[in-house]
Symmetry: C2
Subunit: 107 residues, 2 copies
Amino acid sequence: MDAVFTALADPTRRRMIARLSRGSATIGELGRPFSITKPAVTKHIKLLERAGLVRRRKHGRIHRCTLETKPMQQAQDWIERYRKFWQQSLDGLARFLDETKPEGEDT
Amino acid sequence: MDAVFTALADPTRRRMIARLSRGSATIGELGRPFSITKPAVTKHIKLLERAGLVRRRKHGRIHRCTLETKPMQQAQDWIERYRKFWQQSLDGLARFLDETKPEGEDT
DNA sequence: TGAAAGGTTTACCATAAGGTAAACTATATA
DNA sequence: TATATAGTTTACCTTATGGTAAACCTTTCA
């Protein structure tokens, strides 16, 4: 889970994911939109693989990448679990109590 | 968005968020479950604030923290957007093509 | 008026990210 | 058989994380 959120924390990798969501791509295709060198692309893909978000298949000298759905699903589940909690609590009594209990706010 | 996913990438911070989803808490309360020093707790909270996930109100010497829903919602929206895309594409034709087009897989 | 309690700040350390240039491996092709 | 192409590896740099200890500021309270 750490690795998944770490992978999503970089804008370049998020754009790579967006690209892959529309179909598989090679390493070169994934790196082309960005003005970064090839080793940088290699590192990003490796990080995405380490998070389980991307799978690679080698065909000759070409590496074709595809997305894996499971880790992203788990990340979404984590968020969803707690989002539900606080939406029900913060919109209701808990928020009222938190806001009104202490009177002397200085910020 | 970078900051939000970065904040979620650490297990200590995720547990702090889980704690906050059940109601507001002080800095001390948030750090107590972990065997880390006070400066470490301060840093985690700061990072959560920087991501907009946590809001702090000072009452005397006590700092009371609450969750903010918006950034988490945005993070979830980002995931949801692309998850939809690839679930519809990978479960269907695109995945079929990706898997079958190149014959000589060596991995 | 002290001293304790809640937090922060200031160094300081180790490791991971994100980037580069240069050299390298392996496959395809003229 | 050269040479170009796709991608990786190694070595290096800078900045951000995650942690500590020690000193500090504020507020509370005996």
